[in-house]
Point group: C2
């Protein structure tokens, strides 16, 4: 079968003609402004509904309650961090009837600008900029837009609201948990030092160890890559020495998965001989490791919820405290510790 598209958009003229009234009357009835008899209003409403008429959003927003829409910009093409943030924004704003439109921008600044323009053209009420790294800005300047912008999991200007997980507190909780399990020879296998979170977590790790009265060798922090392979390699390096750890805190869950697999292959029992803690609580990884992984949850949904609510307050003209909001992480205990 062959079909042609699109059906032409229905206008107020069509509605008025179908209801046998002037366009002014049709408009008044649909916008609930001015006087229209109950019967006429009902007839116009029915005509609008039958025809599938949708009023122009701007016209509607000027005359009555409008559809509120948040634009979510991201450079996280896997959506691993962005989708939980998006779910949190939606959940937090459900009572406001807010919809969230996500637009993925590439590294190309010109293209990114095109997408931002499209959001503004579509009269989006505010924008949440999000990404995969708290130490990188998106490839587009959002500082002079006619709508408010909130930043989450990406770098924002000093005079904006920027929400990030409290990596240092999460790290302290991870170390505290391992120490609480009686572990004392703890190492930290983590990602590349070019990431600011790697530096922050390494610093927090060292401080937490010292605070617990435990010795920390400089070799206890092992930067590498965010991969299972690095988990395997790090275990190989550690187990080729006689000075082996009894606790391992990993920079993400993929590293932790590599570590746990590598330990099983060496017949090292987790958690009996070595406790392992990850970071991210990426459930598709954390729940499938054997044993399931104890890890730090960055509470990205809650972060999205708060970002959405901050944005709505800005859109409504309320005051919001700007600067960096560090939101708490949570330890999720499973079988690996």
């Amino acid at each position: 079968m062959i079909v042609t598209g699109p059906r032409t958009r229905v206008t107020i003229y069509d509605v008025a003609a179908a209801a046998g009234v002037s366009t002014a009357t049709a408009s008044k009835a649909l916008n609930e402004t001015g006087r229209v008899s109950k019967e006429t209003r009902a007839r116009i409403r029915k005509a609008a509904s039958d025809l599938g008429f949708r009023p122009n959003s701007l016209a509607r927003s000027l005359t009555r309650k409008r559809s509120f829409t948040v634009g979510l910009l991201t450079d996280d093409t896997y959506g691993r961090f962005t989708l939980p943030v998006m779910a949190g924004i939606s959940e937090g704003l459900i009572d406001h009837g807010v919809s969230v439109f996500l637009c993925a921008i590439e590294d190309n600044p010109e293209l990114a600008g095109t997408h931002v323009d499209a959001m503004l053209d579509k009269q989006i009420d505010g924008i949440i900029a999000t990404g995969k790294r708290v130490d990188r800005t998106l490839p587009v300047d959002l500082t002079h837009l006619p709508v408010p912008v909130v930043y989450a999991l990406t770098a924002g200007p000093a005079d904006a609201v920027t929400l990030v997980p409290d990596d240092m507190q999460g790290t302290r909780d991870a170390v505290g948990h391992l120490v609480g399990q009686g572990r004392s020879r703890i190492v930290h296998i983590t990602g590349p030092t070019s990431f600011r979170v790697v530096e922050e977590r390494a610093t927090a790790f060292t401080e937490a160890m010292q605070a617990a009265g435990l010795p920390v060798q400089t070799s206890a922090v092992m930067p590498g890559s965010w991969s299972e392979r690095w988990g395997h390699e790090a275990v190989e390096a550690l187990w080729s020495s006689s000075d082996r750890p009894d606790g391992i805190f990993c920079g993400n869950d993929q590293i932790a998965r590599g570590v746990i697999d590598a330990l099983r292959e060496r017949r090292v029992d987790v958690p009996q001989d070595v406790s392992v803690v990850g970071f991210d609580n990426w459930e598709i990884v954390a729940e499938q490791t054997r044993p399931p992984l104890t890890t730090i949850d960055m509470n990205l949904k809650e972060l999205g919820r708060q970002a959405g609510q901050a944005l709505v307050r800005l859109v409504n003209g309320e005051t919001v405290e700007t600067g960096l909001w560090r939101l708490p992480c949570t330890l999720v205990v499973r079988g690996s510790s």
Copy 2:
């Protein structure tokens, strides 16, 4: 620091006042309709630019080239299938300057309706409905919208364009590859039979085996769940018998990962003793198995690209063939076969 928001939206009145002209002249200059002197036009443009003025999108679309926007609706909250589709739509429509706005809908039909309404209110040009199952419809009726709708990876009505991967061809390629490697005792470890793709792949598997002149026992198709755990359990069941396979075709990459890990633990060499093929080419899994996984790629990006182009043709009033479009899958050979 405390800031208040939002900055009030700049209107044509502000631009006209700043440029010292009437609103009619400002409108003419910005919309490039009617006669305005070159100098006046330049002054108005500068005022608009300085003030950050953005014309109403509908007004613009009526008078000149507008920003074209595709709404992408999904119920795939992990985005595993939707994000590649989204990337494909974007890439395929870059030359058209099209932006894609993704809106995640829940199982709640009322909420889903709110999001669809928001998209229509924002004058989105067309909608692509997508999901995580080709045998389920989204929880909202999209058959009477004033914009064209294309379906991808979700069930659509018979008179619409619906794009799905050709699971049967993908299955034939997987079996053909295993047979080509000299495998003859091949089993198919797959997901729950409530999924139509599970049925289709099982049928195609059996037919491909028969076509290759190989015996197929009914027990050769092992439905279960889409998890690593099921991969482990299935290997345990198979290896507790003496009739062991030399080729395993898995219904997804997570099952395949469980299978490969379970075989390693039994010291069964992959691919020497057993060849393993997955389905999905979910790179974060397929590239991290040891050895890396041979698998079937559903080419979701290409599927998104074609969905986007079909939608643009519909929006432009061109003819498009409706019905089910089955797009080819591709075998990606890595170390496991």
